[in-house]
């Protein structure tokens, strides 16, 4: 036996890792990598399956379809990072949109004023969620389940259940549906706004104390409080900022849909949660990256869009999305079990 033989554990630490283990290690360090791989894989699959998928025109449509869910998913990410869940995302967006459109059309209000009131209403709706969670100490699931019904009902009552077409609305409200083309690739201002929102919120979450507190409150609220983090204020702010984001999403939705419809975006709640979960954010709070949510939203839309390009029936697309969620979370669990 030579002198430089060390312990069995040290020997184990130097073991040759299999390629799969090395991959697992890499993915653990960068949790948004696996959704990115999934997105690239989906692109390659659909590119092979249908010739019309990877064209400038198709990509423009894909991005436009992603914009609304991607915007909502920012607010949903904030809430889920604090170990909450927001079931009222779609309801707040639709309420805000119907108020904007009705004020502008029926009351002849200038576009800017109608827009401001609509967005402020969404902020107030988010604040109400946060107030119920932090002051009345109700679980976020229950609070937003209740406000989901409340806001949906108010939107229907207020609008009388009828849609308002875009040509009855001032230009400002339709503005985010307009855009510019780059070599057949159409970019709407709505897409630009979504990208800006991701940039700003990504910066806030990763570079400011407020962002750090959001993670801390989600990971361990009691420890955060004992460390001096104003946990309740942070939670209240998270729900309120989420409301602001849903208000902006309402503006994007008018431009995208070309109308304000009270039963628009019925699957917005689940789509936003799906995007967050596929993007690698933990439903238990405290872990996740906003960039993952953007990739997650793109994955959901890519599957839906790609399958529809292939002429697959709507129900199969829903089924595929369901499988996608379970597979994504299973992969996530596997990555978390990494041995260091």
């Amino acid at each position: 036996m030579t002198a430089d033989v060390t312990s069995a554990a040290a020997e184990f630490a130097r073991r040759q890792q299999s390629p799969v283990q090395r991959l697992q290690h890499q993915l653990h360090g960068k949790p948004w990598l696996s959704p990115l791989f999934l997105l690239i894989a989906a692109f390659i699959t659909f590119f092979i399956a249908t010739p019309t998928f990877l064209t400038a025109n198709s990509m423009g449509i894909l991005l436009q379809q992603t914009a609304v869910v991607a915007a909502l998913a920012i607010g949903q990410t904030l809430v889920i990072l604090t170990a909450g869940i927001d079931l009222s995302v779609g309801a707040i967006m639709v309420l805000s949109m119907m108020v904007m459109a009705t004020l502008a059309k029926d009351d002849g209000m200038p576009g800017i004023l109608a827009l401001l009131i609509g967005v402020l209403l969404a902020v107030a709706a988010g604040f109400l969620n946060g107030w119920l969670v932090t002051r009345i100490n109700l679980p976020p699931f229950i609070v937003t389940l209740g406000t989901l019904s409340i806001f949906t009902a108010i939107a229907l009552l207020y609008s009388g259940g009828s849609s308002i077409q875009a040509d009855h609305l001032p230009g400002l409200l339709n503005f985010l549906g307009e855009g510019f083309g780059i070599a057949g690739f159409r970019v709407t201002w709505g897409i630009v706004v979504v990208i800006l929102m991701y940039a700003v919120m990504g910066f806030v979450l990763s570079q400011t104390a407020w962002g750090r507190y959001v993670y801390a409150v989600g990971d361990d609220p009691e420890s955060a409080r004992l460390s001096g983090v104003p946990s309740k204020r942070i939670l209240l702010a998270v729900y309120t900022v989420a409301g602001l984001i849903y208000g902006i999403a309402a503006w994007i939705l008018i431009g995208r849909a070309g109308a304000a419809t009270p039963n628009a975006a019925p699957d917005a709640n689940l789509a936003s949660i799906t995007a967050v979960v596929i993007g690698g954010t933990s439903l238990f709070g405290g872990r996740g990256r906003l960039i993952g949510t953007l990739i997650g939203a793109l994955i959901v839309q890519t599957f839906a869009f790609g399958l529809s390009q292939m002429g697959v029936d709507q129900q199969w697309r829903v089924l595929a999305t369901g499988i996608l969620v379970i597979v994504a979370v299973a992969i996530d669990q596997w990555i978390r079990k990494v041995k260091s």
Binding site: F203, Q207, T208, A209, W210, R212, Y213, Y215, A216, D219, D220, E222, S223, A224, R225, L226, S227, G228, V229, P230, G286, R287, S340
Partner: protein
């Protein structure tokens, strides 16, 4: 003074350190009462902490040790009673109030965030921002600076086992997490550091490291409140020992005047102090 089998003489102040106890206490509590529904947490507790001393608080489970320090550090608000710092009445509504007054606490549950890294935990709720408009306008954190200073704080306490400040706290051992929590208290506590069971989960070597940190804090002129179940650790570092029993103060002794057996006897009610402490 005569003592019976059931009584022991009260301890007074440590010999040779009388001058310390002529000063005003840095932290003083009178008649603290707190109840949780029908459960009485504290039943009229007095406590005095003098500058530059280590005051140990011992007591059986449920005697109110943790409740007492939570009332002194703003985690609980007592139902009645007064707390004074250097003679001035204070009223802590939340931990941040006590922290602003110079009291740092290491809670039994450590109050560290597992998902955040060591530097983020050390600076949690008192982050430094970047200089210039990046910090003042964009409120950007000075991550590099905080990481560097966190490393220095940990080094200053002689903690060798933690090297990488960017490591998530969840990857650390129990002793290392304790070290992070103590390092945070030591780095920011200006008057009082409170440690709740700091050696409970630690091995022999790590316990010795924490006790050394306690002595270093005292030598820097800070006052330390040390809650512990470990009598040898208490008798090693404490100047005085506050004995908590059934939600009240059973007495105050010193390691010189009383041995561990007597301390435990008072703690469990087998013996009583012949008169109440001053």
């Amino acid at each position: 003074m005569t003592t019976t089998d059931l009584e022991v003489a009260h301890g007074g102040v440590p010999a040779g350190k009388e001058h310390v106890y002529d000063q005003e206490p840095v932290l003083s509590a009178r008649n603290l009462v707190i109840t949780f529904g029908r459960v009485v947490g504290l039943d009229g507790v007095n406590l005095d902490l003098y500058p530059g001393e280590v005051l140990a608080v011992i007591g059986d489970n449920g005697a109110g040790k943790s409740t007492l320090i939570k009332c002194l550090t703003g985690a609980y608000v007592p139902d009645s009673g007064t707390v004074t710092m250097n003679g001035e009445p204070v009223s802590f509504k939340k931990p941040q109030d006590a922290r602003d007054a110079g009291i740092e606490t290491v809670y039994q549950q450590l109050a560290v965030i597992p998902a955040l890294d060591i530097a983020s935990n050390l600076y949690l709720a008192r982050e430094d921002r970047r200089k210039g408009p990046l910090g003042s306008v964009l409120r950007m954190l000075d991550k590099k600076g905080m990481e560097k200073r966190a490393g220095e704080s940990v080094q200053n306490l002689g903690i060798q086992t933690i090297q990488n400040m960017g490591q998530a706290v969840e990857t650390l051992s129990g002793g290392q997490r304790q070290a992070v929590a103590v390092a945070r208290a030591a780095a920011f506590g200006s008057k009082v550091v409170v440690l709740d069971e700091p050696t409970a989960a630690l091995g022999v070597k790590e316990s010795g490291m924490v006790l050394n940190m306690v002595k270093q804090l005292r030598d820097k002129g800070l006052s330390v409140i040390l809650i512990s179940h470990n009598m040898p650790h208490v008798w090693e570092v404490a100047d005085r020992i506050h004995i908590q029993r059934l939600g009240g103060r059973a007495g105050v002794i010193t390691p010189e005047t009383h041995d561990m057996g007597e301390g435990v006897a008072i703690m469990t009610g087998a013996k009583k102090l012949s008169e109440d402490a001053p």
